[in-house]
């Protein structure tokens, strides 16, 4: 045949090479942004926590000094750190427990309400859920204002005159309770809506069958509904732990940056104050590393819980 031998394959090397490169081209923008703004800072956080990095080092007046674990040693031997850690755990724990109990209780209540009342309840909850932390904190501060707040006015009006002019942020416990009530207000709706959907997803027949077998309402709740709600419960619990452990805005605004003499500090606010108020950036980073590690542990628990439910990647 006189036809010149055409290559049977298209210029295959480049075509399949392009096909192999294509996904990476689509990934470039996301990887660039995440790399510079998430991964690199994470590396820097760990690095800085090993250095003596204070205001003189920032301005360049003194050279950077690698001090190894000195920041961590200083933290662990500082009674204030342990107090802040305890504050964080107790505060977050109380918030999580309160959120789950309130959200769960209201989810059960919602199943028994007339549709129009349920709609009203969900609308109110949606409003609380949507309120930004900053404005929520501002409103809460106003509600509990010593002299102008409606709460103190109402209590005084009921004859409890000691509440007129009473400051809710003065003592440590009362300030934490005030912040926790705000956190509860804006975080129970997520739990309520999720658990309500989960309860509604339980097939009517299952409960009907249990009832025919003679199970009481309490028994049905404990032995039939609770096991079926466990996956949803796991999600909302761990999500709440992650949220409440990281709370910054509410504490910062409502207690004026950590309360009188730092009595209301939690880990995130503590790290912020150490770094940006006292200029101890190395120490602040060490607190950040510890917070991240603690949250990582919780996140691993979250992933395992997801895996157990058969969530596929």
């Amino acid at each position: 045949m006189g036809i010149p031998a055409l290559p049977l394959r298209r210029p295959g090397g480049t075509a399949s090479g392009r096909r192999r490169l294509e996904p990476w081209m689509y990934l470039v923008p996301a990887l660039a942004v995440l790399g510079t703004m998430l991964v690199y800072p994470l590396y820097q956080l760990v690095l800085v926590s090993f250095y003596d990095y204070r205001q003189p080092q920032v301005t360049g007046a003194e050279p950077l000094r690698f001090t190894g674990l000195a920041n961590y040693r200083e933290l662990l031997s500082d009674p204030q750190f342990w107090e802040v850690l305890l504050n964080t755990v107790v505060f977050a724990g109380a918030c999580v427990l309160g959120t789950i109990l309130l959200g769960g209780g209201l989810a059960v209540l919602a199943t028994r309400l007339s549709p129009w009342v349920r709609t009203l309840l969900f609308l109110a909850a949606l409003g609380a859920w949507a309120t930004p932390a900053v404005t929520g904190s501002a409103v809460w501060l106003f509600l509990f204002d010593p002299t102008l707040g409606p709460v103190n006015q109402a209590l005084a009006g009921l004859g409890l005159t000691e509440f007129s002019g009473h400051s809710w942020t003065y003592t440590k416990t009362s300030a934490f309770v005030l912040v926790a009530s705000q956190v509860l207000w804006c975080s129970f709706p997520f739990v309520m809506v999720t658990l309500y959907a989960a309860i509604r997803a339980i097939p009517e027949e299952v409960i009907e069958a249990a009832r025919l077998d003679g199970a009481s309402t309490a028994r049905i709740a404990r032995s039939v509904m609770l096991p079926m709600l466990r996956p949803a419960m796991t999600i909302v619990t761990i999500q709440s732990i992650i949220w409440d452990f990281k709370i910054f805005t509410q504490i910062y605004i409502m207690t004026g940056g950590g309360g009188i003499a730092g009595q209301n500090l939690v880990l995130n606010v503590y790290a912020y104050q150490k770094a940006f108020a006292s200029g101890q950036y190395g120490l602040g980073s060490a607190i950040g590393v510890i917070t991240t590690l603690l949250l990582l542990l919780i996140t691993l628990g979250y992933l395992r819980a997801l895996r157990r439910q058969g969530e596929v990647l």
């Binding site: 942004v33 800072p41 900053v134 501002a138 102008l148 207000w185 770094a275 950036y281």
Partner: protein, 278 residues
Amino acid sequence: MLRRIRTDAAGLLIALVVAFPLYWMVLSALKPRAALEAGDPMPFTLTPTLDSFRRVLLVDGFGQYLLNSVVVAAVVVTASTFCAFCAAVALTRYRFRLRTTLLVLVLIAQMVPVEALTIPLFFLMRSMGQAVPELGLNHLGSLMLVHTAFAVPLAIWMLRGFVAAVPKELEEAAQLDGAGSLTFVTRVLFPLVAPGVVACSIFSFIMTWNDFLFAKTFIISAQENQTLPIALLSFFKPDENDWGGIMAGSVLMTIPVLVFFLFVQRRLASGLGGAVKG
């Protein structure tokens, strides 16, 4: 029947308690300043006025901060959705090594406590400002950069489902019609996952709009570049809080989020349905 009425009454009471803070916020924003400062305890007002809104918008320059917040949020929404959509295409419509690893990394990235990154990001923005001032401290660019990064992981995770729901056959049909891969993605895939794009845009918007920590850390001295949360905080003055102004500002800041929230609730359900129809 009686029992039903009793549970309904309890539900109604709880709904009122939950809604009360928002009601009080709006009420106090509309009350005349004199009544508010005299500690008027009435749960209603017969003389509503927009004075507080006028005061924050005109005197305190709240309009500028509102605009700043809108600009930052708009850029973040556009940039993060673009990055996330491209990444979602790569992670769902291609099979390549490291794909699963990347997916797991995205999930982990979503859970990094970004609050802990304030310190390194502060220094990153400081050096960024020495090269490109608009992207450094005291400029809105710094907020746009970090929030885009924070929004991307969740956005990828959400869009992934929408992109994966578009049937493979559609891609093959487009190819037969002579559409290249890029044409398919921009002309066929993107319009199909639009509901997902809307949903994840709203999440990015809410996250950026609500940010307090980074706005406070990055915008140190440039008052004209502050965003809403910090402006609101600056109204707090020891013992002489202008509560009418604070509440009016809070209303202005809450309304957009509330509107978008109502939107998400509906859009999410219908969006998922629309994407699967293909």
